[in-house]
């Protein structure tokens, strides 16, 4: 079967159906009855087909086969009639959006079941994951077009006693109602939570906070899982350790784009929609990683992944720090990123041990970020207030604001600080294990404990940060952290003994690093005018991601020449550079 033919054939069937539905709406309007319109519709269809058959357009016909027709095969027409009737009842109450989604959803799922079971005398086809993904995307696309239909319709009269068949205006208003009902069903809690209806009480914060925390767990997992999968990817495509770094570098392009555009994107789309786009990009990139038949395609997907992560990172950091009620949660937010980063390698290792291949592991990771897409979509559909908010209007085009922000030395300072900091943190997570095992011949288990102790220190530090900021203030927290960091690095360098490493220096370094990122973000609104905050946070977090991609690579190259034992020494100048930046920060 020629595929093009098939696409044209059945695709046009759907297209005609769409036009037919629009035409039928005209009929419904004048007849004031959807069922009558459908009856006319079916009769016209029958008459037209009969005419064509009688004219012999379809060639000679015979009723000889009539005896062999199984009785149930005559039911198709009746089912069509039932579909029309039930559908009009549902649309009147659920609205077009919810009804369409429900119909397409059950239609496609049952199709998969029919194909799989080989019902109706057809050949059974196995259930392929690609198809499930395809249908998921199809549903997402339909949801997007239907949601958008609702957007921008100026306050349609919701309370009108709408007749489903009453054409445009009512159709839209019932769509709006359906959305809300859909949101109620899909998990958002109760009426009050969604801010619909007349209740004026503010939407609860915990939904947004939960989504933010989950988003950070998800990006932590997505970023950290890669390390474990690298060896498998290496062998699958026959790469060298040198070429595989292309994967990291390709993500940098995305991070840089995110750095320069995140504030523009959030200003244009609002937080919820930009998170939706970002999470979809991330999920899409992970899917491409998993499904890609060739290596260059994976590299090409890198920028998508960087862009998705960068937008999520910047958007959520900005939103939390700008809202007084949530600024104290920054430490916990980054703590959850740490949890994700700890869980990512563990999840990937476990799945590999269970016998999945690396492509399937990417599928699982895509599923985890896909959950984020679903959660954000539900929040956007449900009009969850805190996510719909746009950043404070700076009174100038977003690009100008970005330019103003970048001209402020303090913004560049924050960016440089985070670039170095995240670079150091990432170098640590990439190389600490290697240093312990290869350069110091520590037994692998003890080295593993050491790395875990590092992450433990980091996570503990982040969850304690709120307390530290309250009692010491941001600048003192930074001084304290940098002092501890220098002490930790010196200890790690000078006492190579594995037990000291695992018990003292590594957890100390983790604890010292914990505060830096959230504290810098917390400082931005204090040092930058409110209008420039989104642009500044977006720039700083994305500069951080650039550091995460570039500095570990540079450390790796240097260690190649100097030996892995020199890694702690290589990290000292980075820490000292941060001390210098901190000194500038205190001074001005």
């Amino acid at each position: 079967m020629d595929l093009l033919m098939a696409m044209l054939g059945s695709g046009s069937g759907g297209g005609f159906l769409s036009v037919g539905a629009a035409a039928n709406a005209g009929l419904r309007r004048v007849l004031r009855s959807p069922v009558a319109a459908a009856a006319v519709n079916f009769s016209v269809g029958f008459l037209m087909l009969t005419l064509l058959l009688l004219l012999g357009i379809f060639g000679p016909q015979s009723f000889e086969g009539l005896g062999q027709v199984p009785w149930w095969a005559f039911g198709g027409g009746a089912l069509g009639a039932m579909y029309v009737t039930v559908n009009t009842l549902a649309v009147a109450r659920l609205g077009l959006t919810t009804t369409t989604l429900a119909v397409v959803c059950s239609q496609m799922v049952l199709s998969l079941v029919i194909d799989r079971g080989g019902w109706f005398g057809l050949e059974p086809q196995p259930l392929r994951p690609v198809r499930v993904v395809a249908i998921g995307l199809l549903l997402l696309a339909i949801a997007l077009t239907q949601l958008d239909r609702d957007r921008g319709s100026p306050a349609a009269p919701l309370a009108s006693g709408s007749d489903a068949g009453d054409g445009g205006r009512v159709r839209r208003s019932s769509a709006a109602r359906g959305l809300r009902i859909g949101a109620r069903i899909w998990g958002a809690k109760g009426r009050r939570g969604l801010g619909f209806g007349a209740e004026p009480s503010p939407p609860p914060l915990w939904i947004g906070v939960a989504i933010s925390f989950y988003a950070f767990i998800a990006i932590g997992i997505a970023e950290a899982g890669l390390g474990i999968l690298l060896p498998s990817i290496l062998t699958a495509y026959g790469l060298t350790p040198g070429t595989v770094t292309l994967l990291f570098l390709s993500q940098v392009g995305g991070y840089i784009t995110a750095a320069l555009t995140s504030s523009l994107v959030t200003a244009r789309l609002g937080l919820g929609r930009s998170l939706l786009v970002a999470a979809s990009l991330l999920t899409g990139a992970l899917l491409i990683y998993g499904l890609s038949p060739v290596w260059p395609l994976m590299v090409l997907a890198g920028p998508l992944m960087g862009l998705g992560i960068g937008l999520i990172d910047a958007g959520i950091n900005t939103a939390l720090v700008q809202e007084e009620r949530t600024a104290h949660l920054l430490g916990a937010l980054h703590g959850f990123y740490g949890l994700g980063a700890v869980a990512g390698p563990a999840i990937a290792t476990t799945l590999l041990a269970l016998g999945l291949n690396w492509r399937q592991v990417y599928g699982v990771l895509a599923g985890l970020t896909g959950l984020l897409v679903v959660a954000v979509l539900a929040a956007v559909v449900g009009r969850y207030g805190p996510l719909l908010k746009r950043p404070a209007d700076p009174g100038a085009p977003a690009a100008t604001v970005l330019g103003q922000a970048l001209r402020r030395p303090v913004v560049l300072l924050f960016g440089a600080f985070l670039l170095i900091y995240v670079g150091l943190e990432a170098s640590f997570s990439h190389w600490a294990y290697g240093v312990q095992v290869m350069a110091r011949s520590t037994p692998p288990t003890l080295a593993g404990y050491g790395v875990s102790a590092y992450w433990l220190g980091l996570t503990a530090g982040r969850f304690l940060l709120g307390y530290g900021l309250r009692s010491l203030g941001a600048l003192r927290v930074l001084s304290f952290s940098l002092g501890l960091l220098l002490a930790g690095l010196l200890a790690w360098w000078q006492w190579p003994d594995a037990r000291i490493g695992a018990l003292v220096s590594l957890p100390l370094i983790g604890f010292a690093l914990a505060a830096i990122f959230p504290t810098i973000i917390w400082l931005i609104p204090q040092r930058v005018p409110a209008a420039l905050v989104p642009a500044a946070v977006g720039f700083a977090t994305s500069a951080a991601s650039v550091g995460a991609a570039l500095i570990p690579t540079a450390v790796g190259w240097a260690a190649n020449g100097l030996g892995l034992g020199m890694v702690p020494v290589l990290m000292l100048p980075l820490a000292i550079a941060m001390v210098g930046l901190h000194w500038r920060l205190r001074g001005g």
């Binding site: 016209v44 269809g45 086969g65 039911g75 069509g80 659920l94 029919i114």
Partner: protein
């Protein structure tokens, strides 16, 4: 009197829980692949898909007229028929192409792919008619949102093809 029972039915629909209506909508969606397969079987047995489509329309129309005659579905305003735009009669003509093509392609491509393509075509044409406001449809411009949706549609249809 007659319209009373239609409003009673609507009233019942308005009172019954949303979950039930959602189940109803899900159920009506599930009818479509079954319908396509039934029509396909009819076409196979008769050796002619157009003939099967005509028979299918005949039974469908019969059921709908019966429903109307039962009087439970409101009293349509038949006098309005003359005022209807002429193209609004086209619905049935265009719909029959869908019935024919789905009955023809389901045995060849499988149910999933056929209906996936149908839904895709439906959405794409829907976005286009909305954009230009053809056929008196309320006009909805092509927003960036919808562009993304179109892209997703193309990707998902591409993936559906991969499944073969």
């Amino acid at each position: 009197m007659v319209s009373l029972s239609w409003s009673r039915l609507r009233g019942m629909a308005a009172r019954c829980p949303v979950e039930l209506l959602l189940a109803l909508a899900l159920g009506s969606g599930a009818l479509l692949p079954i319908q396509a397969n039934m029509n396909a079987q009819l076409g196979r047995s008769l050796g002619s898909v157009p003939l099967a489509a005509a028979l299918s329309y005949l039974t469908g129309a019969a059921v709908l007229w019966l429903l109307l005659l039962s009087g439970r579905f409101g009293r349509p305003d038949w006098s309005g028929l003359g005022r209807a735009p002429r193209w609004s009669w086209l619905g049935g003509v265009l719909g029959s192409w869908y019935i024919i093509s789905s009955a023809y392609f389901v045995p060849v491509l499988g149910t999933t792919m056929t209906l996936g393509l149908v839904v895709g075509g439906q959405a794409i044409v829907g976005v286009v008619t909305d954009h230009y406001g053809w056929l008196d449809v309320p006009r909805h411009r092509l927003t960036p949102y919808r562009r993304v949706a179109l892209g997703l549609l193309v990707v998902s249809l591409f993936l559906l093809m991969q499944g073969r």
